[in-house]
């Protein structure tokens, strides 16, 4: 069976447009709202979904996602709870790829094999683990392979030609290019600086390349969508949650409205192909 990730990127390639990837934190600000947001994401224009699972010490996260994880943990979210949320989403959507993103220790605690089987049964398609570089990833990769889940690798501005093959070993689905050195939500990605990196990674991997960590606005998302296969936005969406809470507004509506504006920018980014 073709994976949901491969199918989605193939379909978008046929349309000649980049994917818009929405990152949300599972359980932020609470389970019910997070589920509402999740269910609304595809219609609002998210082509793929990255579902953050909270960790107490997210060392590559800036304040927005740190706080989102704290809100989710405070509301009682667990890794098991994240998979339940995913499974509930899957009941109404069998095509949008769902990628978990987080840190290693909750997975170590569960046990890689049991976790991978449970994740697969919940309709998870891919996994990104920020603090598990390829050198440490084999036991996890074995468990994910057995469960048909893609281990999505991160390439960064510090990944030189010598290191790139190490990073790409045993990867599938797509490659995530961290476009800035820094934590999430801090610096802004420069499309022109990103262009050669994306081309290099695409050539070396034969996989679609998603770009994230430095995209907050529709303008930036549009610019990145011209050079990459996918634009990922996380901190800016999570900030909408925080702001809605602060102003006592409808959290779901606020997040989905932001998703619509970002997704629109990604969809309009490339000039339609001329008829052959």
């Amino acid at each position: 069976m073709k994976s949901r990730i491969d199918a989605r990127f193939a379909a978008l390639k046929a349309e000649d447009r980049a994917a818009f990837v929405a990152y949300v934190m599972a359980g932020d600000p609470n389970r019910a709202t997070a589920l509402d947001i999740l269910k609304g994401l595809p219609a609002a224009g998210a082509d793929l979904i990255e579902l953050g699972f909270p960790f107490s010490d997210p060392m590559a996260e800036g304040p927005p996602i740190q706080k989102a994880a704290q809100r989710a943990l405070k509301d009682g979210m667990t890794l098991k709870g994240v998979l339940d949320l995913a499974a509930e989403f899957r009941q109404g959507d069998d095509t949008t790829p769902l990628i978990l993103m987080g840190y290693l220790n909750p997975l170590v605690t569960w046990g890689f094999e049991a976790f991978a089987q449970a994740a697969s049964a919940s309709g998870i398609d891919g996994l990104i683990v920020v603090d598990c570089p390829p050198e440490e990833a084999d036991p996890l990769a074995d468990a994910l392979d057995a469960a048909d889940i893609s281990l999505i690798r991160l390439a960064t501005p510090t990944t030189d030609d010598r290191r790139l093959p190490v990073v790409l070993r045993r990867t599938s689905g797509f490659v995530y290019y961290v476009s800035v050195t820094g934590v999430t939500g801090a610096k802004e990605a420069d499309a022109e600086a990103v262009r050669p990196a994306v081309a290099r990674i695409r050539a070396a991997s034969g996989l679609p390349v998603a770009v994230g960590f430095g995209i907050r606005t529709p303008e930036r998302a549009g610019a990145i969508a011209q050079v990459a296969d996918a634009a990922v936005v996380g901190s800016a969406l999570v900030d909408e949650v925080a702001e809605a809470l602060e102003r006592n507004e409808d959290v779901t509506a606020r997040v989905l409205s932001k998703v619509r504006s970002l997704a629109k920018a990604v969809r309009l980014a490339r000039v339609p192909p001329l008829p052959a």
Binding site: M59, V108, T109, E113, E135, P139, T158
Partner: protein, 413 residues
């Protein structure tokens, strides 16, 4: 394949402890390099640069010169006669790291790493600190070599270690209070890692304990092992034999591993670390990763950690800011698992009593961290017995702690 938390077989005791870590930075199942991909090339570079210094005679000469003339090494090995009499067991010796420049063992590691940072062409230094001793030592070497220095320190620790914050400022360092999490050492380390991942070109992360991703646990151990080597020489001179036991308090584990490492292959020497038990091991307010935690991954390495059933890291609690950390260096986790070292605990109250006892009997005000090791000496000296010899690493002096202690005694100063 099983997740690596479930070792297939009980680990066999290695016959050469000096051969660890392996090429992947592993001590058995512990250690490794669990960092964000952005940092991977940096830790690999660091490892190569560090290994090159071992063959670099000029580097070693400069290191030794500074340790002698700037730090004041070798530190004395002192026979604590009145404590020995008081406990009525084995002879007790203190390795006097409290007499070092800046008042603790932390400077040994900082001298080594600042020379390495210079050699690597780095122009900005960052560090995390708990008690502030490592922050002060880092600020000191940065002043000495004219490098800008940013120290991350939990806001709670900033409040309870005021004198050290001021010392760092005097030395020209910028102290950045960290308010995430419990605002203590763990959170300061998160923030330092976030700085490093942001400033990859020019910045050197000077980690203060034998923790973090490989090569830090190995490198910090090596720079601190000068203490254990000196103890070996000094005790042979004083007693004509090796000690029966070496004892040290364990936060991240640098003063302990530096003391222990040169003795690991001497089977007859008992190796004893003391973890902080805070309010007590029966409570959830302690900082004893080995005695009260289980293996997991945090801050770049696999090691024993305080964590809940879900793998969320829990807050550590100790009266001593330098021990207030939910993890422990990976080599200690391994020494525990293979049975080469023993890890005891000591509560806040016991540490305070030992603090006072040491001041009154020996005229030495120890760091609260070191007081945790002193507190266990009574049992250890009795266990080893008369005619035996115990060496304890007095890792630092207690000037920084007098306000905390006064507070606990209900006194105002």
């Amino acid at each position: 394949m099983n997740a690596p938390t479930h070792p297939q077989a009980p680990p066999a005791t290695p016959n050469d402890f000096a051969a660890y870590p392996d090429a992947n930075g592993r001590f058995g199942q512990f250690g490794g390099r669990y960092v964000a991909e952005t940092l991977m090339p940096l830790v690999l570079d660091l490892e190569a640069a560090y290994l090159a210094t071992k063959e670099d005679a000029a580097f070693q000469a400069e290191l030794n010169g500074l340790l002698t003339h700037y730090v004041g090494r070798p530190s004395p090995l002192y026979f604590a006669e009145r404590l020995t009499d008081h406990f009525g067991g084995a002879k007790i010796y203190f390795k006097r790291e409290d007499l070092n420049h800046t008042g603790a063992h932390k400077i040994n590691n900082c001298i080594g790493q600042i020379l390495l940072a210079r050699k690597m062409g780095k122009t900005r230094i960052i560090a995390e600190t708990g008690a502030g001793q490592h922050g002060v030592a880092t600020a000191t070497v940065c002043a000495r070599f004219g490098l800008p220095c940013v120290v991350y320190m939990g806001a709670v620790d900033v409040a309870r270690q005021r004198p050290n914050v001021f010392r760092m400022n005097l030395l020209g360092a910028e102290v950045t209070p960290v308010t995430s999490g419990a605002s203590t050492l763990k959170d300061a380390m998160n923030e330092a890692l976030r700085d490093w991942v942001t400033n990859v070109e020019d910045t050197y992360y000077l980690i203060g304990s034998a923790a973090g991703p490989h090569p830090y646990p190995m490198m910090v151990r090596d720079f601190q092992a000068i203490m254990g080597r000196e103890i070996r020489e000094q005790i042979l001179e004083a007693e004509g034999r090796l000690p029966d036991a070496v004892v040290a308090c364990v936060g991240g584990g640098s003063n302990a591993i530096g003391t222990f490492h040169p003795f690991l292959n001497d089977e007859q020497v008992r190796i004893i670390g003391v973890e902080a038990a805070g309010d007590g091991m029966g409570t959830d307010r302690h900082a004893a990763a080995i005695n009260g935690g289980r293996p997991g991954v945090l801050h770049g390495n696999k090691t024993y950690l305080l964590q809940d059933a879900e793998g969320q890291i829990t807050e550590a609690h100790s009266i001593s800011a330098g021990l207030d950390y939910p993890g422990i260096g990976p080599e200690h986790s391994w020494l525990h698992d293979v049975g080469r070292a023993q890890y005891l605990t000591c509560t806040d109250t016991e540490a305070l009593d030992a603090f006072k006892l040491c001041a009154e009997l020996e005229g030495i005000i120890p760091a609260l961290e070191s007081a945790h090791a002193i507190a266990r000496l009574s049992d250890i000296a009795r266990d080893v017995g008369k005619g035996g010899v115990v060496v304890m690493n007095l890792s630092g002096r207690g000037d920084k702690d007098v306000a905390t202690v006064a507070d606990h005694l209900g006194r105002t100063i």
